[in-house]
Every structure is written in structure tokens, then in C-alpha cells.
């Protein structure tokens, strides 16, 4: 039943990803359109539970932008009304609502409450409030996402102290054939193959990986260098000439053969020296992988085990999957099995190291042999991301740097301008008790007012407004006032979808999260990423 319901997503993140999602408890601050759109995707995906914190009351404008409200909910508490409709989406997901006001969110007691969730998501919080929450959660290693919709603008900020990725799903994973240090059993199989003895049909069904090994042998003999390995374009071209020489003619005089075509197409991807990529080396050199570390997080224990393996063998454990290649079934299956068995053996060795590390660190044994085996299939794409706290002041400085960058990308500059104007709108709110464009004042007056907030932000960064203001477009300020803090449903749906996926990334540890700020502009429907 559960398998069938989640079938389409299990095909992406697998049972282990789904299990992580099903143990995630998510807290969402707010229950407006943006908040419910985020929750919709999370409840559908099957998180363990969610909690809405909000004390807002349903008003007319909510009925025009929030799908999880009905006209009959007017006047009710919005968090309570949306909760019931969100829970209908998936009976397996638990949900609660607490009648808490925005102002309480950064008091000590509430912050402590927030640290009991696996991920906290804020919707439409002004930057200073988000910064206060981020301060606390960052220290306590709770991932925090702050998102906003302001007219046609969308904003997502991921603040996470450390995020680790294992079992990643790369679209084009590196192949791991080890042609430079072939598996002994495979080498024996190649040595036992004499192409001269094969029929034309057998040659045309010889897996290209065997052709490679035969050509490599000739290549080395030609250069009188038993360890030569093609690394440059010219080298590969020379090698290709040798492969070509193995072609045979069929009865019809044709030399066309799929396996030779594949050999040509895959040449570059296949002839890669077996190395430990730099970013993996960096992770393995992390203090958490050192013998003196006491870190008991599963990712770091596994990586410490991996480090021991790498120290011994100077390479990563074999991935073990053989790409498809034209072949008769028998030879393909034989090679596939050689690679698979070697990978199982490598994983077993890594597992022994992991058990050692667990004992050294006095950790409970939580890593199963199966988990270790899956981990070993993608060790070349493990990833560690370390983020930052949200801070209105330091963010402003960075934004202005982007604006002032001389050869900066125009689209990114425009996005930076929106970020700066959002900060200005926050100051406007702080000082006037409302957002620009939201009451009886003509937009032109609010626009002038907003400009003075921009100036004061620039001054606080110890910069000269006369130099910075000309970097802004003339239309941004009045456009922000036009928006009047509107939260149109469509923009909320788009930002909510992206934010929900970021929560899933943080929960599954299989994908690389946003690093760390995304700004979407509904005018162009383009996004830009900033790192603060």
C-alpha cells in the first residue's frame, strides 16, 4: 500500500530516502499561502509530522490566495483551519497547530521548542526575526529555511551548519572501470581471449572493455612502456587507431559494428585514471575523520572507515556497476560479476573499518553492512556543505558587493537589487509598522520613503550612498511599493515547491541543497543564487 502510494518518488530517492523522510518532523512558522504550499509537498511526500505555529485569523484576502481555506473558515484561526485540510492529503502524516504569535517566535522558550524539530521553515518573516531564529538554530545544528514571497519576488535562504550528502543520485556518475589497474580476474579473462581465434560474429559481440584492454596492451608495447596510459587527446587518438585495427569485415564487406562505435563514444569517459577526487580527499582530511575525533554521526563514522580503506589501497572502493555494452550475454555477465564481486569485497573491507571506528569511538553499531554497501557505490560524490547564519547587516554588505561588481552578470545584479530592496522594506516595516504600498499613502510617497531606508542601509555598511544608489534601477523602488507585500498564490506555489524540496534534501542527505540563497523574479521567471 505504502509502496504503491510512494512508487513514483521511491524511484528517485529509494527506500532509505523515504525512511528518512518518514522520520522527519517539520515545523512551519506561519500558515499563509506560502506556508501551506510548502506543507502540501511535504505532507504528500510523507514526512512523519508537521507543526504549524501561527495566531493569524482568516481574512478575505486569505481566501484569494490560500488553497487550504474555504469561505466558511472566515474568522477562524488560520493555522487550525489549514491544518485540517493539509492532513487530508496523507493519512500517514501527523500534524498539529499551536496558537503562537510571531512576536513570541524569538523568545527563549519558543526557540527551545523549535530545536525539537528536524527542520524549521519560516514563511514571510522579516530578516531581523529570521536572523534571531537562525542564530539559535544554527548553534543547535537544526537546519532552518527562511522563505518569502513579496509581490512577484520569491526568496529562499537555507541556513544549515553542516549538511552531508551520501548515496547521491548523479545524473552522469563517473564510471569506475579501473582500466589503469584492472581487476586481476578481469585481466585473466582478457589474457585468455585471443581475438584471432574468434569468429567475425564473436568479435562483433566482444564487449568494448575487452577491446580497450587489448588495444592498451598494444599501445604499451609500441611505447615500450608497460605502465603507459592514454591521458591526452593525442594519446587517445593513437589508442583509437589500435582499436580500429581490430575491426573485421562481415560477409557483406561491412566493418560497421556497434561495439566498436560504443568503444569510440566511450573512450574519454572510460580512460580515466583511478584517483581519489580532491573534494573527497578534503572530506577525509576533516577533523571528524581523524583518529582523535569522537564524532559519532553515522556519516562521519562511515567516512572515517572510508579513510582507512583509502590509506591502505590509495583508491576508493570499487563502484562495481558495469555500463551496458554490446555483447553476448555470457561474456557481459561474466565481466559484470567480476566487477560486482570485487565491489562487494571492497565494501566488506570498508565495513570492517567502520566497525573498528565504532569501537574506537564507543558508538553503538548503527551502520549496517547493507548501508555500507550502498554508500560505497557513490563515494566519489560524497559532499559536505557548511552554511552560515542569517544576518541582516552582513548580508547587506555582501549584496552591495554584488551590485558594485564591475563585470557582474546583469541578471544577478538585478536579483541583488531585489534582495537589497527587501531589506529596505523590512526597515520600513520596522520603523512605520507597515510594509510600503499597503495603506492610504500613494505609492510615489512610499517609494521616496523606501529610498531613504536604502540610503541608511548603505550608510550602515560604511559606504557612500552617492556611489551605490546609481547602481540601482529607477524602477525597483516603485515596483516594491506596487507589490505592497502581496503574496499572490502562483508565486507562493512556485517558491513553496522549491522550498519543500530543500526540506526533503535536508531530510534525505542524498541531494545537494541550495547554497544558500535563491532569489526568484516573476517578471523574468529567472532565479539567481547567492552565497552569504
Amino acid at each position: 500500500m505504502k509502496d504503491a502510494r510512494y512508487d513514483r518518488q521511491l524511484r528517485l530517492w529509494g527506500e532509505e530516502g523515504q525512511a528518512s523522510i518518514e522520520s522527519a518532523s517539520v515545523c512551519v512558522l506561519g500558515s499563509s499561502a506560502l506556508a501551506t504550499e510548502i506543507l502540501k509537498s511535504l505532507v504528500l511526500a510523507g514526512i512523519n509530522s508537521f507543526c504549524i505555529l501561527d495566531d493569524a485569523v482568516v481574512q478575505n484576502a486569505d481566501l484569494g490566495n490560500n488553497f487550504f481555506l474555504h469561505v466558511s473558515d472566515l474568522g477562524r484561526k488560520r493555522g487550525e483551519a489549514t491544518l485540517a485540510k493539509l492532513k487530508e492529503l496523507n493519512p500517514a502524516v501527523g500534524g498539529t497547530w499551536e496558537d503562537v504569535s510571531l512576536e513570541e517566535w524569538h523568545d527563549e522558550r519558543m526557540l527551545y521548542r523549535l530545536s525539537s524539530f528536524s527542520v524549521v521553515v519560516a514563511s514571510n518573516l522579516r530578516t531581523s526575526t529570521a536572523a534571531a531564529i537562525s542564530d539559535y538554530l544554527f548553534e543547535n545544528s537544526i537546519p532552518f529555511i527562511s522563505c518569502r514571497v513579496f509581490g512577484l519576488i520569491g526568496y529562499i535562504r537555507v541556513s544549515v551548519r553542516e549538511h552531508t550528502v551520501a548515496n547521491s543520485h548523479e545524473e552522469n556518475p563517473r564510471e569506475d572501470l579501473r582500466l589503469d589497474r584492472p581487476l586481476p580476474e578481469f585481466q585473466a579473462m582478457v589474457d585468455g581471449t585471443d581475438l584471432a581465434e574468434l569468429s567475425v560474429d564473436e568479435i562483433r559481440h566482444t564487449p568494448y572493455i575487452i577491446l580497450y584492454m587489448k588495444a592498451l596492451k598494444m599501445y604499451r608495447e609500441k611505447l615500450s612502456d608497460p605502465s603507459a596510459f592514454p591521458e591526452s587527446y593525442a594519446d587517445r587518438k593513437a589508442l583509437w587507431g589500435l582499436i580500429e585495427s581490430m575491426r573485421v569485415e562481415t560477409d557483406t564487406g561491412s566493418t560497421d559494428a556497434e561495439n566498436f562505435d560504443e568503444a569510440k563514444a566511450k573512450l574519454l569517459r572510460s580512460f580515466q585514471k583511478t584517483t581519489v577526487p580532491a573534494h573527497v580527499v578534503e572530506i577525509l582530511n576533516d577533523a571528524k575523520c581523524s583518529s582523535s575525533s569522537t564524532c559519532t554521526q553515522p556519516f562521519w563514522i562511515i567516512c572515517t572507515g572510508l579513510r582507512k580503506f583509502v590509506e591502505k589501497h590509495h583508491c576508493l572502493p570499487l563502484k562495481g556497476n558495469l555500463p551496458d555494452m554490446t555483447s553476448d550475454s555470457k561474456r557481459y555477465a561474466r565481466i559484470a560479476n567480476i566487477y560486482h564481486s570485487a565491489a562487494v569485497q571492497d565494501a566488506r573491507e570498508v565495513y570492517q573499518f567502520i566497525r573498528e571506528v565504532e569501537r574506537e569511538r564507543g558508538a553503538d553499531s548503527v551502520i549496517s553492512e547493507d548501508m555500507c554497501y550502498r554508500f560505497c557505490k557513490t563515494t566519489d560524490s560524497i559532499h559536505v556543505q557548511r552554511g552560515s547564519k542569517i544576518s541582516a547587516e552582513s548580508d547587506a554588505g555582501k549584496i552591495i558587493e554584488f551590485l558594485a561588481e564591475e563585470n557582474g552578470d546583469a541578471q544577478k545584479k538585478s536579483a541583488a537589487e531585489w534582495l537589497l530592496l527587501l531589506l529596505a522594506a523590512d526597515r520600513f516595516l520596522q520603523e512605520k509598522g507597515r510594509f510600503p504600498g499597503t495603506n492610504g499613502v500613494p505609492c510615489t510617497i512610499d517609494s521616496a520613503d523606501l529610498k531613504s531606508r536604502v540610503i541608511s542601509i548603505v550608510r550602515r555598511c560604511n559606504l557612500n550612498p552617492d556611489q551605490i544608489l546609481p547602481l540601482l534601477s529607477e524602477s525597483g523602488l516603485p515596483e516594491i511599493c506596487r507589490y505592497g507585500a502581496a503574496e499572490p498564490h502562483v508565486i507562493s506555489a512556485l517558491v513553496g515547491g522549491i522550498a519543500a524540496q530543500e526540506v526533503i534534501k535536508l531530510a534525505t542527505n542524498q541531494y545537494i541543497p541550495l547554497d544558500n540563497t535563491f532569489l526568484y523574479d516573476g517578471h523574468t521567471q529567472c532565479g539567481a543564487t547567492f552565497r552569504f
Binding site: 500500500m1 524511484r11 498564490h489 526533503i504
Partner: protein, 474 residues
Amino acid sequence: MFQDMVSKHWQSYYFHSIQYKTSFLENRMGKMSSSFRRMSISNDPLANNRWRDIRRLTDRDSIHLRNPNFEPGPENFEIIQQIRVLVIGAGGLGCELLKNLALCGFQHIEVIDMDTIDLSNLNRQFLFRESDIGKSKAEVAAAFVNERIEGCTVIPHNCRIEEKPPSFYRSFHIVVCGLDSVNARRWMNAMLCDLAQVNAMGEVEENTVIPMIDGGTEGFKGNARIVYPRMSACIDCTLDLYPPQMNFPLCTIAHTPRLPEHCVEYVKVIQWDELKPFQGADLDADNPNHVDWVFEKAMERSQQYDIRGVDRRLTQGVLKRIIPAVASTNAVIAASCSIEALKLATNIANNINNYLNFNDVDGVYCGTVEMGRNPECPTCNRRSEVISVSRTDLLKSFLENLVRAFNLSDNPSLTTGTGSIYEVSEFFPDIAERSKNNLNRPLGDLVSENSELLLSDISLKSSNSISIRVKFTD
């Protein structure tokens, strides 16, 4: 990967940009009002308005967007409420589209889908519940939105898109597609290209152009695009964007299997017909017993050939050609499509030009690229057959000649961009009645010289219809 496809595309076709006129809908709707002039907002009359957040955008002027067709004011929002939108598909994208469009303020929405609800839909098709399994997607989705969003009317059509005549499609201002099949997308595209008329001067008549917004997703990737039929790149202009269906060569499946997929395909293509399980029933990938049978046989074959990796999920995936899908990507792409629909209706911002890529596997990417037209595209650059006739020839004999010349069925239809000349279907009795009366009228009364006519028939598969221009001999 999307980027690669795009750059490949850039090289392969001749590109030229078009300055789109954003006034299609104004032409089609007629100007709602030109008397309204912008006034400064001296109080916030919208504070307690249900549509406050959309109307901030529709009512207030913007110097940011610099579009002369943008006429801010209350009338601009009223246009949304009068526009007729057709949503194709009530699946992952369709459910989202209906919600989004209803909350943009659109009130006349229709939706077509022939599918019924399955348990595996429920991880993203949020308008459906377990108790809805087996019911029509279009009907359940429409009823849900109608109940939830006061004032919005969604009319469901539980049928195939091919079952609707051109006159049905002609009645909409915007078509938004949320489909998972390239063929259905192409059919819809061809229909809208057919409806876009070219006048005797060779110019596209803008009031016959129905913009098509098309979304697609696969896993964490998606795209959204806008097509102005016959004016901008159409689906067929850029067919190489859609990956060809993976087909395994029969000889590999039969003689040299290597992958688990080969084993499943063997059972599906060869063993099912040979062994005729379930009293010779056709293989139904939705029937768990059938899937189990195939799985078991595929397992046997994989053991025979020493192939690893056959499991039930893979078996079903191969049988149904399942595309993985999550709620979040559908939400993003449907929102992107809906934003373009809202822009088309109101000009609150300029439409994208003309193709959006989204991907959030690694960080988040969202950006647009301009697809150019393919001048050789047979769908949006269709050439007309010119037929010489006398003004006094009756429609009846003209049709008979066409049926003979093009090998058609006995019930073809003949339409112009704006109306029907002959179209007999049970769905539209009025038109059928009028069509039958037309049979005995002379062509001179029914068609004008050199204007484009569309001949449609169920026998025409690749393209939906044949374009015809009449030349009078007298």
C-alpha cells in the same frame, strides 16, 4: 543535461526572434474599457478584498515592466474573470494548474483527462483521496476545485483530447497543457496551429491565435514554455528536445540479454504472446496479477542468463514506462505555467521568451532560453492545397470530391479559423444542424476566395487536418 539539449538546438536550427505582440487577448476579448485611467491610490480599498494580492499587480501601474499594453485598473482584473482557459490533463501538473488558475481569479476553466485515479497518483495529485481511486481524474479534480474556491467553475471532460472537435478548442482564450506524453502534446500543438489562420496576405490573423502554455516534468527537472501557434517556435519545431523513447533491439532481447530491463521486455514482447496466461488476456500493467506473472518469468530468465537486478519495481517501471515524479517539481512547473497564463490575461508582467528550464537536484536552477522556429516545421509552416472550384458548386459535391481526393472517412469536417462550414458531431447539435443545411448551398456563399479552410478527419493521423485554399474559376 537540459543545457546540453538547448545548446545543441541552438546550433541545429535557423533562429530568428520575433517581437511578440502581447495584445492577443485584447484582440480576442475586445478592449474591455479604455475609459479607465489610472489614479493614485489615496486609501487602500483592497485591504479587505478577497483578491487583494492579485489586484496589487493588476490595479497598480509599473514602470518596471515598460509594456504599453498594460492597462492597470479594476477592469484588468475583470478580464481574468472572463477569460476561458482550457487545462489539458488532470494529473500531477493538472491538479496544480487548476488550483493555481482558480486562485489567479480565473472563473471559466475546463479540463480534459481520460484517466482514472490510481493509488500511485496520490503522492502528488493532491485533489484526490484514497476513496477516489478508480474515478475520473477530470471529474474529481473539477468537483474539488469548485467546492473549495467560491466563484470558480471548472467543467470536466472525461475523454481523450482527440474526441473534441476544432470548434471546442476554438472557444478558449488560453490552453495550458500538463501532459506526460509527447504525442498528446504534439496533437494539441497541431490543433492550435490549425486554428491559427493565415490570411490571403500570408499574415497570421492574431485573433485566431490561441497561446499554448506547456509544462513538463521528470523527477527533479522540468520545463515550461509558451507557444504562439504559427508565430513562435512550436512543439514540433523543437521536437529534438524530447528524448526518443528507449526501445531495446529485438535481437538483444531475444538472444543476448544483458540488463534486467532486457529480461522484462522479453517476457512482455515474446513470452506473453507465446504462453497466453490469464486466458489469453492482453497484458495490463495496472493489473497486479499480470505484473507478478511478468516479474516471475523475468526473474527466471535473469537467472538463466546470470543477470542481476530484476525486481518488482523495475518490472513495473519497464512495463508502464514509468516516469518518476515528485510533488515539488510539479508544483514549481505548474506555477510557472500559471504565472504565464496570468501575464497573458493581464499584462502585469512580460511573458517569458519562451522556454524555461528548472532543475533542483544540485542547488536550484531556474532560467529561460529562446527557442527559435524551425522554418521547415510542417506543423506551424503548413502549406495549403489550392483547389479550383466554381462559385456555384454545392458544398455537398465539394466534400465528396475532397473525401475521394484525400481518402477520408464519410464524416470529415470543414472549418475556418472562426467557424464551422461542415462539422457533424453528437456534442454540438446546433452546429451539426447548420452543417447539414449548408450541404445544399453554393460554395460562393460559404467561403471566400483564398482564405484558409481546414479539412479534418479521423483518418488523418500525423497532422490533424489538411489546409485548403479555394480558388474560384468564375
